[in-house]
């Protein structure tokens, strides 16, 4: 695939995603459920940090939810 075709696909893809997103969502006064603690993507930051440290030291993958990093000599 040449660069031009790839660029065209990316532009069209971004436009489709943007137009799709524009038709989704809620009004500000409809955010009652979304504002709840259990709906926050980083609502359990300490639990997530402890789990990430455990999995980082026992498996070959890390990150995804946020920046992958070391900060630990456990490789």
């Amino acid at each position: 695939m040449n660069r031009r075709a790839l660029g065209l696909i990316l532009i069209v893809g971004a436009a489709v995603v943007a137009s799709g997103c524009a038709s989704l969502g809620v009004k500000p006064w409809q955010r009652d459920l979304l504002s709840r603690q259990d709906m926050q993507l980083s609502g359990n930051a300490v639990d997530d940090a402890i789990d990430d440290h455990l999995y980082f030291s026992k498996e070959a993958s890390s990150g995804g939810r946020s920046f992958a990093g070391g900060g630990c000599g456990c490789n």
């Binding site: 402890i50 455990l54 990150g63 995804g64 920046f67």
Partner: protein
């Protein structure tokens, strides 16, 4: 007629809503922090936990974590977090089980005979250094700053210290809201620099373990990019997708891991230190979905990661949360499934000390093909202050983790019948308090 009835209904609901708002405002005015201390603390939040992690027959870790955040009136916030790890117990050294007793030196040892912390592994057992211990202290800071109404910048930095490892990292992100704040796109970059000071020196890669050839300290560093799209799908559905790319270069070995060298009959001839490639590039896609109902919610996250070491992994994590009582308590069961393929240089043993063309080799089980399951359960209770407001939370969490190696190569000769790839079983117990 129908319209008139509706208008009346709307008017009544508006009046009721106005009364509710007024009474809430009046209530809040009465509930305003009364003392100087309460006023000073009202913009602060604290999140803390004490975790105890125990592997069956191996290491145990005690990990206290404290995180404090101050919110500013303009939407900005600044946070500090502090983590300690105290780790002790037995850690696999990478060698294979054998039909014969095997003797190893501690990382600081210089001889396989008579060393102070030399240890002997019984026939059939997985060789583990029983004197493994480490202390880690990590300090992190983050700062979120609104630049405009729809544009937010975030910065983070972290320092981590262990006896044999120092690490510093920093990251910066920018997020833009669209579509009445229903869509958020963020882009960030990170950098990390690490310095390794292995106990007893850095072993020469792939050198004979019995020769104790060591060199000086080592470094590695890495940089990463993270692109994120968060979308409110409906009143009760939130979705996020992240794309990340990172690359680490430098010394990526575990300096304490060795590999058994065996002959065709399965007898141990010796050991060599492992060696990994000096760069690693990882790509991942992460998808998170949250759905809420009146008294419950669910979250499902999926991650696919691939690197240029040949490791591909899939992760799926599901959690449910039920609010019980007067919505002041909750239970949160969690299930996580993980699977990875082996790194292309993973090998449980070598058949020669100096295999021609061998540039990288590691028997570290964390680079093997494996599958893991985690079962978790959390219980939280909201605590009220003297004015009856929910102001803090106490919670307790327990997790059980089981890791099983897959596609293990059968041992030749004398290794047949031995448990060469034992499961890893661990339990995590955590208590937490937030304010």
């Amino acid at each position: 007629m129908q319209l008139k009835r509706d208008e009346g209904g709307v008017r009544r609901r508006l009046i009721a809503a106005s009364c509710a708002l007024l009474s809430a405002s009046a209530g809040r005015a009465q509930e305003a922090p009364s003392t100087g201390m309460e006023r000073a603390l009202s913009d602060w939040s604290l999140d803390s936990a004490l975790a105890y992690y125990h592997e069956d027959g191996r290491v145990q870790v005690i990990e206290p974590v404290v995180s404090v955040t101050k919110a500013y009136g303009d939407g900005a916030s600044a946070g500090l977090n502090l983590t300690f790890d105290a780790l002790s117990g037995a850690s696999p050294n990478g060698a294979s089980p054998s039909r014969m007793p095997q003797t190893f030196a501690s990382p600081s040892g210089k001889s396989l005979t008579g060393g102070k912390h030399n240890y002997t592994t019984a026939p059939g057992d997985l060789p583990e250094d029983p004197h493994y211990s480490d202390l880690r202290a990590a300090l992190g800071a983050d700062w979120t700053l609104p630049l405009e109404r729809l544009l937010t910048a975030s910065f983070g930095a972290k320092l981590s210290y262990e006896d044999d490892f120092y690490s510093g990292s920093a990251n910066a992100s920018i997020a833009r809201d669209f579509n009445q704040k229903n869509t958020t796109v963020s882009f960030g970059a990170s950098y990390e620099a690490d310095s390794l000071h292995p106990i007893g020196g850095t072993p020469v890669p792939l050198s004979n373990y019995a020769l104790f050839e060591k060199t000086g300290n080592q470094n590695k560093d890495g940089a990463g990019l993270l692109l994120s799209l968060t979308q409110v799908m409906s009143r009760n559905w939130l979705s996020e997708v992240n794309f990340s790319l990172d690359r680490f270069t430098g010394y990526l070995n575990d300096p304490y891991k060795i590999i058994s060298v065996i002959d065709a009959s399965g007898d141990v001839r010796g050991y060599v230190y492992e060696n990994r490639p000096d760069s690693r590039t990882r790509k991942s896609v992460y998808l998170d979905n949250r759905v809420a109902w009146e008294r419950s919610s669910a979250g499902l996250s999926l991650r696919y990661m691939a690197d240029d070491w040949g490791v591909h992994s899939e992760t799926a994590q599901l959690h449910l949360q039920w609010w019980i009582g007067e919505r002041d308590k909750y239970v949160r069961p969690t299930l996580r499934w993980y699977r990875q393929t082996a790194a292309n240089f993973y090998t449980p043993w070598l058949l020669d000390f100096t295999a021609p063309g061998l540039s990288s080799a590691s028997s570290d089980s964390r680079l093997a093909a494996l599958q893991a399951l985690t079962y978790g359960l959390k219980y939280g209770i909201k605590l009220r202050d003297k004015l009856g407001r929910e102001s803090s939370e106490f919670n307790v969490r327990i997790e059980y983790y089981q890791q099983t190696q897959e596609n293990g190569i059968p041992g030749p000769g004398a290794l047949r019948g031995l448990d060469l790839y034992p499961d890893l079983k661990a339990i995590l117990v955590q208590i937490g308090f937030s304010y």
